[in-house]
Subunit: 238 residues, 2 copies
C-alpha cells in the first residue's frame, strides 16, 4: 500500500515542518527578549533580531508578520512572568497578609523588571508611525484585533487583587464595592511603578512605607468598619 505509506510520510513531514517552524519562532522570540531586556522595547528591531540569530532580516518575515507581532508575543510572555512572580506571594492564609504581600510583590516586579513591565503595559506608545512606507498596509491588515489577547488581560490587573480583597472585606462583614476598590488599588500600585520608572525624581522616597500607608488607610484593621458602601454606579460589587 504505497498510498498509506506516502500519507504517513506526509503527516510526519508536516509535523516536522510545524515543529521546525515552532522552533524558529522560539529562537526569534528568545533573541527579541534578550534585546528588550538589554536595551528596552524601543530598541527592538527586525535587523537586530536577525543579526542576533545569524539570519537575514527578510527571513524573519517567514515566521512573524512583523515587529509588532513579536512584541506582542513578548508581552504575553511578560504577563505570564508577572503572574508567576506573584503566585508564591499569594499563599498566606490570612487575607490581609496576602494582600500586602501581593501589593509589595507587584511593585517590586515592576521596579525590578522595567523592560518587562513596559512590555506588558506600554506596548502602545511611541514608534506609532515610525515605520517604513508600507506600514499602512500592515496597519490595515492588523486592525482586525487591536490586540489579540488584550481583552483577556483587560481587567486582569485589578483581578489580581479582587479575589483576595473580596475575601478580606467579606471576612470583616463589611460591604463595599470590591471591583472599584480593586481597580483603585491596582491604579495606585501601577502609579507607584510608573513614577519610579519615569524618573528617579518622581519616585517615592520609599515605596514600601507608601504602600503600607495606602493599604492601612484602605483596609487596615481600624478601617474595617469604614469602607465605603457599594455605589450605585459602575462595576458590579462582589
Amino acid at each position: 500500500m504505497p498510498q498509506l505509506t506516502l500519507t504517513a510520510m506526509d503527516i510526519a513531514g508536516r509535523k516536522d515542518r510545524a515543529t521546525r517552524a515552532h522552533d524558529q519562532r522560539e529562537r526569534i522570540v528568545d533573541a527579541a527578549r534578550r534585546i528588550v531586556l538589554r536595551e528596552g522595547l524601543a530598541a527592538l528591531s527586525m535587523r537586530k533580531i536577525a543579526e542576533a540569530i545569524g539570519y537575514s532580516p527578510a527571513s524573519l518575515y517567514l515566521y512573524f508578520e512583523g515587529r509588532d507581532e513579536i512584541a506582542e508575543a513578548l508581552g504575553r510572555e511578560g504577563y505570564a512572568q508577572l503572574l508567576a512572580y506573584l503566585e508564591p506571594h499569594a499563599c498566606a492564609d490570612d487575607a490581609r497578609e496576602r494582600l500586602h504581600a501581593l501589593a509589595h510583590a507587584y511593585v517590586a516586579f515592576g521596579c525590578d523588571h522595567p523592560q518587562t513591565y513596559e512590555l506588558i503595559f506600554m506596548m502602545h506608545r511611541g514608534r506609532q508611525q515610525q515605520a517604513g512606507p508600507h506600514a499602512h498596509r500592515q496597519r490595515d491588515a492588523a486592525s482586525k484585533p487591536p490586540a489579540s489577547d488584550a481583552r483577556a488581560c483587560a481587567a486582569c490587573g485589578a483581578q489580581l487583587f479582587a479575589a483576595t480583597l473580596s475575601e478580606l472585606i467579606l471576612a470583616r462583614g463589611a460591604h463595599a464595592d470590591c471591583g472599584l476598590l480593586a481597580e483603585a488599588l491596582w491604579a495606585t500600585l501601577h502609579g507607584v511603578v510608573m513614577l519610579t520608572l519615569a524618573r528617579a525624581e518622581f519616585a517615592p522616597a520609599a515605596p514600601g512605607p507608601l504602600i503600607e500607608a495606602a493599604l492601612d488607610a484602605w483596609f487596615g484593621e481600624r478601617a474595617a468598619a469604614t469602607l465605603p458602601p457599594a455605589q450605585t454606579s459602575g462595576a458590579a460589587s462582589c
Copy 2:
C-alpha cells in the same frame, strides 16, 4: 561723542539681537508644540519643526542644542499648563471639597491632554539612543544636568495635594503622615491616568467613581479617626 553714540547703538543692537533670538526660539517651540499635540512626542523631529516654520533643519541648531532641549522646553510649558488648569479647582473653602475637586481635575487633565501629560511625565522613555552617529557627543555634553528643572518638579506632583491634604487632616484632629499620603494619592491619580492612556482595556470603566471611592476610603468622613499614624520611616510628617 561718537563713542557714546556707538556704544548706545551697540547696546540697542545687542538688545535687538537678543529679542530676535528670543522670538525665533518662541516660533520654534510653538511649531514643536503643535506637532506634539497633533502627533505625539515620539513624532517630534527637527525636520518637521523646520518645515513647519519654513526653515532648514540646520537653522534650528542656532537656537537650540538639539531635539532634547526643545522637548524639555515643552515639558516645562506643559507643567505650567497643568498648574494653571488645577488652579481654579483649588478655590473651595472646604478642604475636603477642594481635595476632591483637585483629584478629579488632575485626572481629567491627564486624560484630556495625553500628549501634554506625556510631555510632563514621560519625557524619558523611548527614543533613548535612536539618534544619529553624533549623538554620543550630545549625550556627553548634556550630561551636566539630567534635566535642568527636574528637581523643581520633583515631588511637585505630591505637593499639589499635600497642602490641602494636611489642612484636611489637621482640621479633623487626626495625626497622619501627610507626605506619605500625598504621595500615595498622587500615585493613584497618576496610575489612573496612565492606565487610561495606555489602553482602553486597562482603563477603569468610570474613573470618577473610582476616585471617589479611593478618596472616601482614605479621607472620607467616616475615615476621619482611622487614618494611619505618622510612621517612623520615610518622609517628614506635616
